[in-house]
Symmetry: C2
Subunit: 205 residues, 2 copies
């Protein structure tokens, strides 16, 4: 298909498609003349993934480039490619040079070991959770993560991971991971605030 | 205590305290001379709540003003006061004039009825969840909320609500609600991405 059809079918404006082509986010089409190129389903799928990362995941363009490089690098195992997408969805957390921080981070590492979870030693989620623990302690919020660990484990293993096509094309797996991770996260957040409203109505009536 | 001590004990700079006083976020101290006022524990507690809303909850100042007006309006029942704080923590969602939207919103209302949850008919969480459902459908993400409903219900009723001092001062209850809601949400989010990494390692090894 021509770029105009790619634009109308993907819902992405032509100047934006040209920007993605220049930045290497979208692979070049097949050049059929000096001014024309042909695009196919792989371009449509890639545009859909970029929109998912950008609009639903709120992932910055620079991080999307890293994810796409990982998708395109076929020598990278699927698991590491998904890890790249994964890490891009979380905030960037700077470790703090305090005793409090070291204790929280050690607690996170111990928790992961006890659970037998396979988490990369340098996964940014370790510092992300450590930061939350530090804030909880500073602000006097009780820290008991077990119920959250159990709920996260159950939802991920019994629901979310089944929606990811591990044996399909690499970009389809990344897209499913990002969409599932972000949208189920949003749904859960709204449901949690609903449950809080309902339960506080119950307790105060 | 004088404003300088209030500043050092709360960690809030004096110009910021003066701004809160002008904007009505912080109640006036007791004027002891033309240029001096005395502050007490109620001011410290209020500053702590403002910081919690601002820094941890990322609640905009205009919404903090609404919450504080609700805290100060003693005629407002506790439950409605907490609801105001609650609603300020979520995003503002504009309903869309589409059939898809109406169907999603009807599904949310039915779900709440079936659960027997006590949610205000105009609670913004209803539209928030409807919007997520619309996006899931548009993007082909499977919509099965039951496991999320169960997890949210369990965590809220068995863990989070027990940390809220319903019988203490009104601002202490709001502070606990905001801190708990935001910090447990962040912890859960990091744990969920960890579980995803671990489970994808398991499935792909």
């Amino acid at each position: 298909m021509r770029i105009s059809e790619l634009s109308s079918r993907s819902g992405v404006a032509i100047p934006t498609i040209k920007y993605y082509l220049r930045e290497g986010l979208l692979h070049q089409g097949e050049q059929t003349s000096a001014t024309r190129a042909e695009y196919d389903g792989s371009h449509l799928r890639r545009l859909r993934m970029i929109r998912a990362l950008l609009e639903v995941g709120k992932v910055p363009v620079a991080s999307i480039k890293k994810i796409i490089d990982a998708v395109d690098d076929e020598s990278l195992p699927m698991h590491e490619m998904l890890g790249t997408a994964h890490y891009a969805l979380g905030p960037t957390v700077e470790p703090e040079p305090t005793e409090e921080w070291r204790a929280a981070r050690a607690q996170v590492d111990t928790l992961i070991d006890e659970l037998g979870w396979h988490i990369h030693p340098e996964a940014p989620t370790r510092d992300e959770l450590a930061q939350t623990l530090v804030r909880m302690r500073q602000l006097g919020v009780p820290v008991d993560l077990r119920p959250y660990v159990e709920a996260a484990n159950e939802l991920v293993t019994e629901v979310e991971m089944d929606t990811i096509p591990f044996d399909g094309p690499r970009d389809a797996a990344v897209e499913a991971l990002v969409l599932g991770s972000v949208l189920y996260g949003k749904a859960f957040d709204a449901l949690r605030r609903m449950a809080q409203e309902s339960e506080s109505a119950e307790r105060l009536k």
